[in-house]
């Protein structure tokens, strides 16, 4: 198992290198630069700025400089947020996104799994229709619609919760964004759990389990649940990576200082170092979470073993 994990980590290196290289050159290919804005800088000013950030060098050399710095763990200074380095920005923003994301995913699992199971067990009943109908609505309504509605109703009209802000992660500030962030995930997880549960319940070994006289409860808990969770677990890997690296929409609407906004803003500002920093960071997270998912797989499914 350890060997497997080690191998996978080794394989991750070329993957990340490809990600870095592609994003680096794509970014430099994009028209417009970090100093293009509403007002043109005098040529000599722009020249000074470009020199300060090594942008006056050929792109391939910039790439080598970047790789060299990266190896030393240096993401470089942000072009836009000049008082911070990219590492500092990620170090400040990620814990916030992580905390928010973990709560959202926890809420999504806590609600989505039972709902999906209940719906599967009462297949084609009114309970099933109710759950799946709601889930469909949850999938269909984007969170940039849900979030302002939540803020308006609970923040402005009822004044129960703050409309925005983070306030060092006070729970009152967290409720609305966590709910807004998790609604879609609840819906996905419920639908996925239901589908895979129904499939598992139709298999031979469940029929065998029932035939040998196990109680329905035991059939579900001991034999159906684990395999039914497999697709959900594989979905959770990328979902967690996506959700804990922050949601641009939710962070913008609720004014949360996470790193989600950097993905979009840095790209729009042509903040090259910040774009690369977030891409590399996201890449590493995806690789790690996928690995964790695969390890969990072997725990859930006895047919999967990694001791090669």
């Amino acid at each position: 198992m350890l060997l497997y994990v080690f191998k996978r980590l080794l394989q991750a290196i070329p993957t990340l290198l490809i990600v870095i290289t592609l994003s680096f050159f794509l970014m430099h290919l994009a028209p417009g630069g970090p100093f293009d804005g509403e007002r043109q800088l005098p040529a000599e000013i722009e020249a000074n700025l470009r020199a300060a950030y090594h942008l006056d060098q050929p792109v391939w050399r910039q790439y080598l400089i970047y790789l060299g710095n990266l190896l030393q763990g240096d993401f470089g200074p942000s072009f836009r947020y000049k008082d911070f380095t990219v590492t500092e920005l990620i170090a400040q923003g990620f814990p916030v996104s992580l905390e928010l994301g973990l709560w959202a995913i926890a809420l999504a699992i806590a609600l989505g799994l039972p709902l999906g199971i209940v719906a599967a067990l009462h297949r084609n009943s009114s309970v099933d229709y109710l759950v799946m109908g709601t889930a469909l609505a949850g999938v269909a309504i984007p969170n940039f619609v849900i979030a302002p509605i939540l803020a308006l109703v609970f923040g402005v009209l009822l004044a129960w919760l703050p409309v925005g802000g983070w306030n060092d992660g006070h729970w009152r500030n967290m409720v609305l964004p966590v709910v807004a962030l998790s609604i879609q995930q609840v819906a996905y997880i419920a639908r996925m759990t239901r589908a895979s549960m129904i499939e598992v319940l139709g298999t031979h070994y469940i029929r065998t389990a029932r035939a040998k006289g196990l109680s329905e409860r035991e059939v579900i808990w001991r034999h159906a649940l684990r395999p039914a969770l497999l697709p959900v677990v594989s979905y959770l890997g990328p979902a967690i990576a996506g959700i804990i690296t922050g949601s641009v929409v939710i962070e913008q609407i609720f004014g949360i200082p996470g790193i989600g906004r950097y993905f979009v803003q840095a790209a729009l500002n042509r903040d090259y170092t910040l774009v690369m920093g977030t891409v590399v960071f996201y890449g590493i997270l995806i690789v790690l979470l996928n690995l964790i998912v695969d390890v969990l797989y072997s725990a859930l499914d006895p047919q999967i073993r990694y001791d090669d």
């Binding site: 994009a30 028209p31 417009g32 630069g33 970090p34 100093f35 293009d36 804005g37 509403e38 007002r39 043109q40 800088l41 005098p42 000599e44 000013i45 000074n48 700025l49 020199a51 300060a52 836009r80 947020y81 000049k82 008082d83 500092e88 920005l89 170090a91 400040q92 923003g93 814990p95 992580l98 905390e99 973990l102 709560w103 302002p148 803020a151 308006l152 923040g155 402005v156 004044a159 703050p162 409309v163 925005g164 802000g165 983070w166 060092d168 992660g169 729970w171 967290m174 409720v175 913008q252 609407i253 609720f254 004014g255 949360i256 200082p257 996470g258 906004r261 729009l268 500002n269 042509r270």
Partner: protein, 528 residues
């Protein structure tokens, strides 16, 4: 029930603070929603209005702004200007102090001016100081910073020598590019001096805490020379890019001042929060650049004139925007000091007459129903820009003009304008300082921001003449003459003058609308 919810995963949020303990919210705390996260709090590294909102509360220049935007003495107590307008001698206040108690000296200004112009500082706004002798040469690396025309005659006497007389120079000294920086702190901490914990400033407030993307807290600076008249104990700036979020937080009472509320909400706000909704004329113009480069149909002045004639500006301001913007018939917005803007020649014509004239001009230029004019109109992505572009395209239809709309994000948009790859392009200009020259210089030959490459020798000559004229009113007349030339040429197509849009807690006193939309917190207080 809710209060029992616990969030055990309370990872401490890393913040750049001297002390992590937030002050309890005091009674006299002003909470401002600014437009975005400041790039820096170092006055030499910023260029945005939202940064000005914060940095302008932390620092004070030789000259500063009153509540109504008028220029008043800041660190400078008095000054003398030489006959030829090139040498300024300032007497600094004896009681001007940095927030650490050290005196603010003439040497701090010398240090600051040299620093912002040093190429290695890479200050993107340094060119505002180009009127100072040798400034441009220093910035381009052709001269040493020590040769800059600024000198400390003694601790409290500062002399600034200009390249040539610059009538608006005093106004410029209130700009953040001309703030002093604390030499003793910058030399100790280097580029990281402007972060919480090390930052020292000389304005009415001092930096307490900066939590990136969330809030910036400043408290009253006891060492400020006018601290006794500063009513607020604390100011918190919330960077909020999403305008609707700022609006919601204002409605929920979480903030006192929201900068630039969303235009779409104007009617609702006016009806429901009339006391809080402020709109006022603003020193900015929204215009279309008409490409005068060879090979573009808009190089023909007749085409430019026809296009300008056919735009019904009132329809755009009233029916499309509806936020109190004024239709623009001049390039320099009204309200600029010592200046009466020239107007486009057709301002008194009726809409029918304008359209009639526009048709004539188009057929003279060889366009008509049989030979429609194809135009490429570029704008940067935004709902308002799109609607304006569509409306204007429709207004040009009767002239037989077919418009292709292109939109792109802002960085690409301006890069395209610079390369001249357009016929008509959207642009906007907000005055850096309250002077007509700041607008009209956009039309001078060879100037970087002259996107349409308009070039008129007569215009350039008038601008040069104005630059050498001491008398402010006479100078204004010359520039107005230049503007008249440009408008007769339809060098650009002015559409509307911007307005400032703020939501202000009605319980605030001392918050005044002004044409530059500059509001320093030192003048603000809460009603008793």
């Amino acid at each position: 029930m809710m209060s029992k919810l616990r969030f055990p995963l309370s990872l401490p949020v890393l913040t750049l603070t001297a002390s992590l303990t937030a002050l309890p919210l005091q009674a006299d705390t002003l909470r401002i929603a600014i437009m975005g996260e400041p790039a820096s709090l170092d006055p030499h590294k910023i260029s945005g209005t939202w940064e000005n909102d914060v940095v302008g509360d932390l620092f004070e220049g030789l000259i500063t702004e009153a509540a109504d935007g008028e220029r008043i003495p800041g660190v400078a107590e008095s000054w003398e200007i030489s006959e030829d307008g090139t040498v300024y001698t300032f007497q600094l206040r004896q009681d001007a102090r940095w927030s650490d108690g050290e005196p603010v000296t003439a040497e701090d200004f010398v240090f600051a001016f040299r620093r912002i112009l040093t190429p290695a500082t890479a200050a993107d706004y340094a060119y505002l100081l180009y009127p100072v002798q040798n400034a441009e040469a220093i910035y381009t690396g052709e001269a040493e910073p020590e040769t800059l025309g600024i000198e400390a005659l003694d601790d409290h006497t500062l002399q600034i020598t200009l390249e040539r007389s610059t009538p608006y120079f005093l106004d410029q000294l209130s700009h953040y590019t001309a703030y002093p920086v604390p030499r003793h702190v910058v030399e100790e901490h280097g580029d990281r001096w402007s972060r919480p914990g090390s930052m020292v400033s000389n304005g009415p407030f001092k930096l307490q805490r900066w939590q990136s993307q969330t809030r910036i807290e400043a408290i009253r600076n006891e060492h400020f020379h006018d601290a006794d008249n500063v009513a607020l104990d604390q100011v918190i700036y919330f960077p909020i890019e999403e305008r609707n979020t700022a609006l919601n937080r204002f409605r929920a009472g979480e903030i006192d001042v929201a900068r630039e509320f969303p235009t779409q909400q104007y009617r609702w706000l006016r009806d429901n929060l009339p006391d809080a909704t402020h709109t006022a004329p603003f020193l900015g113009i929204y215009y279309y650049v008409l490409n005068s480069r060879e090979g573009h149909p808009t190089a023909d002045p007749r085409v430019r004139k026809a296009l300008s004639l056919a735009v019904r500006r009132e329809v755009i301001t009233e029916q499309i925007l509806g936020t109190g913007e004024e239709p623009a018939y001049s390039f320099v917005p009204p309200g600029v000091s010592h200046y009466e803007p020239a107007m486009v020649p057709f301002v008194d014509m009726s809409q029918e007459e304008r359209l009639e004239r526009a048709r004539e001009l188009m057929s003279e230029a060889g366009y008509g129903p049989d030979n429609p004019l194809q135009l490429r109109l570029r704008y940067n992505t935004s709902e308002d820009h799109r609607q304006v572009a569509i409306a204007i395209g429709a207004m040009w239809e009767p002239l037989g003009v077919e418009v292709d709309l292109f939109n792109s994000e802002i960085a690409v948009h301006y890069a395209d304008l610079r390369q001249g790859d357009f016929d008509v392009g959207r642009a906007g200009w907000i005055g850096d300082y309250n002077d007509a020259q700041n607008f009209l210089s956009l039309l001078e030959s060879g100037v970087a921001n002259n996107y349409g490459a308009y070039s008129n020798e007569e215009f350039d000559a008038l601008m040069r003449e104005a630059a050498e004229t001491q008398d402010l009113d006479r100078r204004g007349e010359i520039m107005a003459e230049a503007e008249r030339l440009a408008l007769e040429d339809s060098a650009t197509l002015p559409i509307f003058y911007y307005v400032s849009r703020n939501l202000v807690n009605p319980a605030l006193q001392g918050w005044e609308n002004n044409i530059e939309d500059i509001h320093r917190s030192r003048w603000v207080s809460f009603e008793e």
